[in-house]
Structures are given as structure tokens and as C-alpha cells.
């Protein structure tokens, strides 16, 4: 198996403010796969991206992207990778076309040469090609940024929270585009704070406080969930959560949308139901459910 990203014991500490941003990070990304880095804000995702895109130096450990060391071979590497930072980072006073043209020339290529890769994405913003990038909507900005990151046909694509601040429909669209790009042989590392996007990746790493909690395909992570998961729903959700947490056999309980997700140490879920009815929740409904990535993530975080 070939890997396009190999991360070996990467650690990074910031002095001001004193934060251990990354601690012994290890993972590999298979060539041609879509790898997701899932974690809340401040988990260290952006720092890791910057190290892998040669923008920051790690304190410890080493990393290779497309077989090249991110420190020693940074010059060669910079022409092999595409990077889309979390913040919109194109020239707002340049038009859509000028931005794309500029980044194509910067990478010693032309729009035509890389057009096949961005065709599906760029077509959607092409009607606005004379508009200044600063006047595009959030979704269009993101498509332009992706086009600019792809125009030089990189081997590995780094996308740092590409869907943050984008509406649900555009997000879905965006992930479809990523699939298409992947199918053209580009390895993609993408980070996101949204759990629902995790299942769309080939493999995910859950990251929290600079540490990786788990690495596996999303289905494996879900399958590895060790307990039976119940969803408890009722009319007074606040009081219900309080009463559920008082139950003796509770292993974990947290509110999840308008229901409460519960796992038990031992015993029978019927006991919980009985007790809840006693405590004044006659309408309570308890179902056994299949855990989501978020359930797995929350369990790992505890």
C-alpha cells in the first residue's frame, strides 16, 4: 500500500499562548484516498495542516507528503501540493478569472492545462468570472478557492475546514465535488468540525486537544462502538436528562438533538424506563439505535 501522507510522531508547542497544539500525531493517508480530520475548533487541525503544507516547522517528529520530507524538500513539495486555508485567502479586488489566471501562472501552468480537474466546479462560477472575488457569496468563494488550489493539478490536496460557514446544500455539493476530484487520482486531506461529513471520508482521524483519538474508516469506528446505544425521548427534555443521569446503571448520557443518548453499564433498559415513568415521565420512549460518528467521538472524548 502506498501512502501520500505519512505523519510520524509530530509534536508542536506554541509559546505564546502556551499551548501544546499537537502531541505525538501519527497517521498515514493512502494514495488516492479522501482522509478526514475531524475535531472541534482549537483541536490542532490547522496547525497540522500548516506543518504538512511546509508552512510551519514541527518541534518533533517528521512527515512526508508524496514521499518528500516536509522540511528538507519543502521547495519541491510546494509545487506538488494544493492548499486551501480555512479563511478565504484570495484577492478580493481581483475578478474570479484574474484570480484563477494568477494562480495558474504562479504555478507555471495555464487554466487550460488544469481545466479538466476544475471543470465541474469552475463551470458553476464561470457566469460570474468578471465579478470581483470579494463580491461572491460564501459558496462561490469556496468554489473559486478550490479551483485556485487545484488549477496546477496537485498530487495532494489540503483543505482546511472548507465547509465552515457554508450552507447545507452547498456543503453537500462540495463533498460531491471532492469525490470527483478524488476519482481523478488526487489524494485529499480535509478537516471539518462537522461530524455528519465524516462518514463521507474513506478514513477519518478524530482529533482533540492535539491528540488523535482514533483512526479508522468511519464504518469501522461505528462498528467498534462497544455498548448498546439507546435514545430516550420525552416531552420535558431538560428534566428528563436530569432524571436519566440519576439512574444507577448509567454509563453515559448526553442530549443529542431533541433526544438523549444513553449507554448502560449493566442491567436492563426496562429498569430505566420504569424509573422514568415513576419520576413523572409517563410519555417516555426508549429505542435502541445505531451509533453515529458523533456518538463515537463523544465516547472517545470522555
Amino acid at each position: 500500500m502506498n501512502y501520500d501522507i505519512e505523519v510520524d510522531n509530530i509534536s508542536k508547542q506554541f509559546v505564546k499562548p502556551d499551548v501544546q497544539a499537537l502531541e505525538d500525531i501519527n497517521f498515514n493517508v493512502k494514495t488516492g484516498s479522501l482522509f478526514g480530520l475531524i475535531g472541534a475548533d482549537g483541536a490542532g487541525k490547522t496547525t497540522l495542516f500548516r506543518i504538512l503544507t511546509t508552512l510551519l516547522l514541527a518541534d518533533n517528529g517528521s512527515a512526508k507528503v508524496h514521499g518528500r520530507d516536509v522540511v528538507k524538500d519543502f521547495k519541491i513539495l510546494r509545487s506538488l501540493i494544493g492548499y486551501m486555508p480555512g479563511r478565504f485567502s484570495l484577492y478580493t479586488d481581483l475578478s474570479v478569472e484574474e484570480n484563477l489566471q494568477f494562480f495558474a501562472t504562479l504555478h507555471k501552468t495555464t487554466i487550460e492545462a488544469g481545466y479538466h480537474l476544475i471543470k465541474d466546479i469552475y463551470r458553476q462560477i464561470e457566469p460570474f468570472k468578471n465579478r470581483r472575488a470579494g463580491q461572491l457569496s460564501g459558496g462561490m468563494k469556496q468554489k473559486l478557492a478550490l479551483s485556485c488550489a487545484l488549477i496546477h493539478q496537485p498530487k495532494v490536496l489540503f483543505l482546511d475546514e472548507p465547509t465552515t460557514g457554508v450552507d447545507a446544500v452547498s456543503r453537500k455539493e462540495f463533498w460531491n465535488m471532492l469525490k470527483n476530484i478524488k476519482n481523478q487520482g488526487v489524494t485529499i486531506l480535509v478537516s471539518t468540525p462537522y461530524m455528519d461529513e465524516a462518514v463521507l471520508c474513506d478514513e477519518i482521524a478524530l482529533i482533540q486537544n492535539g491528540k488523535i483519538l482514533s483512526i479508522a474508516p468511519p464504518s469501522t469506528i461505528i462498528a467498534q462502538f462497544p455498548d448498546v446505544l439507546y435514545s430516550v425521548s420525552g416531552s420535558q427534555i431538560g428534566k428528563l436528562l436530569e432524571d436519566v443521569s440519576k439512574f444507577q446503571d448509567i454509563k453515559s448520557c448526553f442530549s443529542f438533538g431533541d433526544t438523549i443518548h444513553v449507554t448502560l453499564n449493566q442491567g436492563d433498559i426496562k429498569g430505566l424506563q420504569k424509573e422514568l415513568i415513576q419520576r413523572g415521565h409517563p410519555e417516555v420512549v426508549i429505542d435502541t439505535i445505531v451509533p453515529t460518528i458523533e456518538d463515537c467521538f463523544i465516547r472517545l472524548m470522555q
Partner: protein
């Protein structure tokens, strides 16, 4: 090379599309030169003047008459004693006073070379100099007419500058202003525009590209170099044709020396932008670190030779000071490079210093 061209084009878009900055970039120097130029114009109209005639004889009245009838003066009145003039100065009622000594005519007849004193309020040095020049001419004319060319008697005109004994003329301001404008645009605009890329996050993408970021920064300087050259042309046109600044030397020499200063300024801007990460800081450093020293240490506002020794030493670090000397040598004295190659060499040295420092300190990464 193609990338470099693309970069320069992009920079031109930035400069040309930001209309407000562009207006500032090109308008400010022109406004400045007009303001400075006309504020310093030698044309003085209606300068308020008082005559203290202590003789009241034929000769003194004749001179008073000539002064009173002169268009350039607004005659306020006669004073009876020196102290009247003094009080009027304090109240700001007059800009100049002419003191004619007692027994003026007698002194002339006795061939004693009488002395007329002119007092000017040199808080406004131009008016003061102009008034003194006018009165001197009037006195000379009187002398020629009344006493004849061959008269052995000469009336001695003594002038006295109140408040500001150092008088600076218009010829000093134009070279100073040239230095100021070129420094300001070069340093401030370059440093701010590069830091802007850092702030906007575009630097991050530029770094992750095979294009050498340093070349990107040099490309950034190109539009400002051209804008500065345009400004230089405007300043020269206005100062020579409108303000009457002399131009004795070679235009080519003046141009190449100015381009040298522009490059020095750009390299300073480059250096500042390397050290800072926000536009405000870059602007503050450029203003405090460049504008102020340029104003203080160039020599066109405050004479360096009157400064305490430590300040004189510090003034050597102001690039504009050397440029100022060069420009005065070219424009006023019409001298060739042989007379200011040392100053030019200092500018070259400074440029090399800043470029080398920028190169060494340039970060190929974010931190």
C-alpha cells in the same frame, strides 16, 4: 519571468483598483508641493508695516512716502519710538517696522552713513525676508535718486530678524519635499501592501507555491516604483515651472539619483514588512521611523548644523539627508557626480544593507 510579469500585473490591479489610495498616492504629493510652494512664495502682498520716523526731516519723509506708496505694504501708521513698534509686534498688528534714526538728513549731509533699521517678524520668515528686501531696494533707490550714483554717502540698512534668525528659502524646500514624498510613498506603501498579504491570508497561499515569495515581494515594489517616478515628474514640473525652482544641472543625473532614493525607500519598506504582521504596526513604524526622521533630519526644516552633536550623528542615518544634498547640488549649483559621489554611495550602501537584512530575515514559512 512569466510568473513575475503576472505578479506585477496583479500588483497594478491592486494599486489601480483602490481608487482612494491611488488618489492619495498621486494627489498628496501634488497638493503638498502646491501647499509648500505657495506658502513659501516670495510674493508678499500687503505686509503690515509701521514706520518709526525719529527725524521727520525731508530725507526721512521721502523714504516714508515711498514705503507708504508701495503696493507690497499696508502702512499701519507712524510710531514715535522704538517701543511703539515693539508693542505692535507683540500684538501682531505689524509684520515689519522701519526705524529711521534721529537727524537722518543731517547725518547724510555730514556724510556719517546713517543707519536705517528694519525689523521683521520672522515667525513668518518669507514675509520677513521679502519685506526687508523691498525696504532695502527702496532705500537704495532713494540713495541713488537723492544723492546721486557717485555719492560717497551710503545709507546702511541693518536688518534684524525677530524670533527666527535662520531664514530658509524656497530653494531649500523643493529638494526637501522631493525627499519627503519619495520616502513616504516608497516606505509606507510598500510595507503596508506586503503586510496586507499577511493579514489577508494570501501570503499563506503564496508561500505554498513554487514561486519564490521574495520575488513576489520585489514584484510588489514595481508599481510603487512607477508611481514614485510619476510623482517625481509631477513635483519637478510644478517646482520648476510654477514655483520657479532653478534647475542648473542634468535631468538625467537628477532622475537617476531620485530612482536611487526610491529604491532605498522600497528596500526599507521591504525590511519593515518583514518584521511586522499587521498593517497598523507597519504604518506606525513607517510614519514614526521614516516620516518623522525625514522631516527632522533632512535639513530642509531644521538646519542640521544647529543641532546638538548626538542629533547630528543620528541625522546621518536618514537617507533623505544625503538625497537632499545631492538634489541641491544638481538643481541649484548644477554640479556633476564628482561632487556628490560620496552621498550617492551612502544611499547605495543603505539600500544594500536593507536588502541583505530583508533577505536574511525573510521567512520562508509562517513562523
Amino acid at each position: 519571468m512569466k510568473q513575475f510579469k503576472a505578479f506585477v500585473i496583479k500588483e497594478f490591479y491592486h494599486v489601480l483598483r483602490d481608487k482612494r489610495s491611488l488618489l492619495l498616492l498621486i494627489g498628496l504629493p501634488i497638493v503638498q508641493i502646491f501647499l509648500f510652494g505657495f506658502a513659501l512664495s516670495n510674493e508678499v502682498k500687503n505686509a503690515t508695516i509701521m514706520i518709526v520716523d525719529q527725524s521727520k526731516d525731508a530725507a526721512s519723509l521721502s523714504i516714508s512716502e515711498k514705503i507708504r506708496n508701495n503696493d507690497n505694504f499696508h502702512f499701519v501708521g507712524f510710531g514715535y519710538a522704538y517701543k511703539d513698534a515693539h508693542t505692535a509686534f507683540m500684538r501682531g498688528e505689524i509684520q515689519a517696522a522701519v526705524i529711521i534714526p534721529p537727524n537722518f538728513q543731517k547725518s547724510i549731509l555730514r556724510r556719517e552713513n546713517p543707519t536705517i533699521q528694519i525689523i521683521g517678524d520672522a515667525t513668518d520668515p518669507n514675509t520677513a525676508t521679502a519685506v526687508i528686501n523691498y525696504v532695502t531696494v527702496i532705500t537704495m533707490n532713494f540713495q541713488r535718486q537723492a544723492l546721486g550714483m557717485t555719492s560717497p554717502v551710503s545709507i546702511d540698512v541693518r536688518n534684524h530678524m525677530l524670533y527666527n534668525p535662520e531664514l530658509k528659502g524656497v530653494t531649500n524646500f523643493v529638494p526637501g519635499l522631493m525627499a519627503l514624498v519619495l520616502m513616504l510613498i516608497g516606505v509606507l506603501m510598500t510595507s503596508v501592501s506586503i503586510v496586507k498579504e499577511k493579514e489577508m491570508g494570501t501570503m499563506e497561499i503564496l508561500l505554498v507555491s513554487p514561486f519564490h515569495p521574495l520575488a513576489a515581494i520585489i514584484a510588489k515594489a514595481v508599481p510603487y516604483l512607477l508611481v514614485s517616478i510619476f510623482n517625481l515628474c509631477m513635483i519637478l514640473l510644478i517646482s520648476i515651472h510654477v514655483l520657479g525652482m532653478p534647475m542648473e544641472g542634468s535631468y538625467f543625473l537628477l532622475f537617476s539619483m531620485s530612482v536611487l532614493l526610491i529604491i532605498t525607500a522600497l528596500s526599507m519598506g521591504l525590511f519593515i514588512s518583514n518584521q511586522t504582521s499587521s498593517q497598523q504596526v507597519a504604518m506606525l513604524i513607517s510614519l514614526m521611523g521614516m516620516l518623522l526622521p525625514t522631516m527632522l533630519f533632512t535639513g530642509f526644516m531644521f538646519p542640521i548644523e544647529n543641532m546638538p552633536i548626538p542629533l547630528q550623528i543620528i541625522s546621518n542615518f536618514a537617507a533623505s539627508k544625503w538625497y537632499y544634498i545631492i538634489v541641491k547640488n544638481i538643481m541649484i549649483k548644477g554640479l556633476g557626480v564628482a561632487y556628490f559621489w560620496k552621498e550617492a554611495l551612502v544611499l547605495v550602501g543603505m539600500t544594500i544593507f536593507f536588502i541583505v537584512m530583508s533577505l536574511r530575515r525573510f521567512k520562508m514559512r509562517l513562523a
